[in-house]
Amino acid sequence: MKKLIQFKNIVKNFDGTLVLKGINLDIYENEFVTLLGPSGCGKTTLLRILGGFLEPDEGTVLMDGEDISHLPPYKRDLNTVFQKYALFPHMNVFDNVAFGLNIKKEPKDIINQKVMRMLRLVGLEDYAKRGITEMSGGQQQRVAIARALVNEPKVLLLDEPLSALDAKLRKEMQRELKKIQQEVGITFIFVTHDQEEALTMSDKIVVMKDGEIQQIGTPTDIYNEPANRFVANFIGESNIIDGIMVEDFKVKFEDKVFDCVDAGFSKDEPVEVVIRPEDLDIVGPRNGKLRGIVKSVLFKGVHYETIVETSQGTSITVKMTVSEDKPVVNSEAGEMMSANDFYLDILDIDELTENFIISRADAQAWNPETSERISIYEVRHEIQKEKGSYPVTFSTSAGTTVTVNAIVAEINKVVDEEYGEEIYAVNFFKKVDEIQESLILDTDLKIWANAYAYDLEEKTAVEITEVEYDFDPQNIQPGVYDVTFKTEGYEYKVDTTDKAEVGASVGLKFGPEDLHIMRKQ
């Protein structure tokens, strides 16, 4: 096959933002090439540079070996199907399609012949005299394709042409476009953000992100051997697990070594392992290569999307001391007041403020008749940066006081080396009614226990996805309770045709060829 179009180191800036960062790409004759990427990845910019509507800041575009970078659009031997079709509203279907031929001043009878042939190709020969505005979206789409193809270009550019159509029509047009491309036998360059569209139609997919090409390959290559995490996530769904390449054809993840079909990595190189949900099978707990518990099952029509957790995340358990609400009554001033004992981290002492103490102790004063809140006037304490128990006295301006204990303790955290995570929480005291009245108990428990989790490697916060406790919030009695906070463990998305029971213990089965190894970036 012959190289038809060559992009050489194309760079494009918009107001100081680099939209294309040096694109090198060859496109061959009779190929159906798709530029695929999320919005803002530069795919449309690249297409517009090829169409001649933008000039690159750097680099050249060659067509048949000739530099066309600075040629105006009307001198280029290619045609475009625009995103919103850009059909001429003051012309009928025939005149729209004939536009290019009329400009070239071809004889009337030839124009007539060619236009009608094109309209037949797109199945609109009966609509030649119709006004553009009377056509449906799908029909307008076909007119736009016919208008471009009638000029017999060497390349047809399509800028997200199906994005305005509904799902069913889009599928139909995908098939039709592929058919048209095979029939006319010219190069199609198709821009889309829809990975399914790209997989369905293309001979070659160019995956782009942030102005750079991520991977070029056939749909099967790109799906089965994604080059990196971005491609794996963007094309289809995938489970991506951190692993280590022990040696050629052996990868280790979740503390187990598995056979795989990849080689060429250095010894003990950290890698990412991609497993497609449809490559995993759910089997009996003893028959799989990994064991786990079914966490959720979603019905998706053709299949069930099952989430299996193979190991739990990092967790920490704290004590919650629950007491009856016994507020202090100051009948002279007509005030009531309450506060809890509370725990403090030794590290918190340096940055101790009155507001922090009031919120940790949940100290409040109010007028029992009007339920109006009364502000706390004074906080007296002598908390030291040393482990121990210190009295803290809160008082209002009317002289109502409550004294509680502040317990300074070592920081309470769990570090999980396997996950590279750290989770952190403190013991706390609460009143019965506060627990009963909480509408978002899980979130409140996180706040009360000051619970946080961090990724040690990336130094970012990790979400605490589970809060476990074994009391009934509505009928809680005074006492001491365990509350456990957990982060997400290793979860696998599995597409199955059989429905698994939530909570069941299952095994996950996969073969060596189902593991796709990617280098870490």
């Binding site: 169409g51 850009a86 536009f99 290019g100 400009i103 009377e134 471009a148 000029n151």
Partner: protein
């Protein structure tokens, strides 16, 4: 919505008294003779006969139509490039241009026309400038002055109409034209121009109609010897007190205006029909 309908009653009453009733009166006057008493009317077609028999009146009518036509054509020729230029400007510049164009209309037309009298008169600024080269020209009280005054007054309407039509046009159509091999001239002739025609046509209605019936511009800039239909009607009502003849001329004007509106609408329609054809 029904409960709001009652709120339109005052307006309907107002329209009936201030617009419909006077128009009916004009209709009545046009077909009656002078000296009517309140109770009985003497119907006649003489008022119309007089207009068309006396060549002076027909001449005035033709002159009005000619001046209005020339004004409209010049407004298109001047206004289209201006509107095209503004439509191509950046957003911020567009707003400023539109402001500049509408700015004069904040001042009363009559006042601005008086200003032109000062500029055009024999010792006005233009003649003083021409005097430097030893030229003296009579500018005021000529057809030139009348047409100039009308263009000055009505050009903003033409520009704004065309400008609106041009900005409404989808820019990707020009890209599509270029993509299909049209250079800039061809793209303009085949895409921009036809798509801006509705703007030109509504511009014509906004310029031609007030121009044909204008009376103060010809009165101030044309002087006593330059009479257009508007002036004729004015003099019938205010100077000679012949309300019946004045009404008849007004009615003739109304009919001419209705015919010209019908024609422009029809042209507009055929444009649309061509799209559908």
């Amino acid at each position: 919505m029904k409960q709001f309908r009652k709120m339109t009653y005052p307006y309907v009453l107002w329209i009936s008294i201030m617009v419909v009733a006077p128009m009916l009166l004009i209709l009545l006057y046009a077909f009656t003779k002078e000296g009517n008493s309140v109770t009985d009317f003497l119907f006649t077609f003489n008022n119309f006969k007089r207009f068309f028999v006396d060549s002076v009146f027909v001449e005035v009518l033709l002159r009005s139509l000619r001046v209005a036509l020339v004004t409209t054509i010049l407004c298109i020729l001047l206004g289209y490039p201006a509107a095209y230029y503004i439509a191509k400007c950046s957003e911020g510049l567009k707003m400023r241009w539109v402001l500049v164009i509408t700015f004069p209309t904040w001042i009363n037309m009559l006042v601005r026309t008086y200003a032109w009298m000062g500029i055009l008169q024999d010792d006005g600024i233009i003649n003083k400038f021409l005097g430097l080269f030893g030229i003296q020209a009579t500018l005021l009280h000529t057809e030139f002055a009348v047409v100039l005054g009308m263009i000055y007054n009505f050009l903003p309407f033409m520009i704004l109409q065309i400008y609106t039509a041009l900005t409404k046009m989808d820019g990707s159509l020009l890209e599509a034209a270029a993509d299909l091999g049209a250079n800039r001239t061809k793209a303009f002739m085949r895409i921009t121009l036809p798509l801006s025609l509705p703007g030109v046509i509504s511009g014509i209605t906004l310029v031609f109609l007030p121009a044909v019936s204008s009376f103060f511009v010809p009165k101030l800039l044309g002087g006593g010897q330059y009479v257009m239909v508007g002036n004729l009607i004015e003099s019938q009502f205010l100077t000679s007190g012949d309300w019946n003849f004045g009404s008849a001329i007004s009615l003739i004007m109304v009919i001419i205006i209705m015919i010209s509106m019908y024609i422009t609408r029809k042209v507009d329609k055929t444009e649309v029909m061509e799209k559908r054809a």
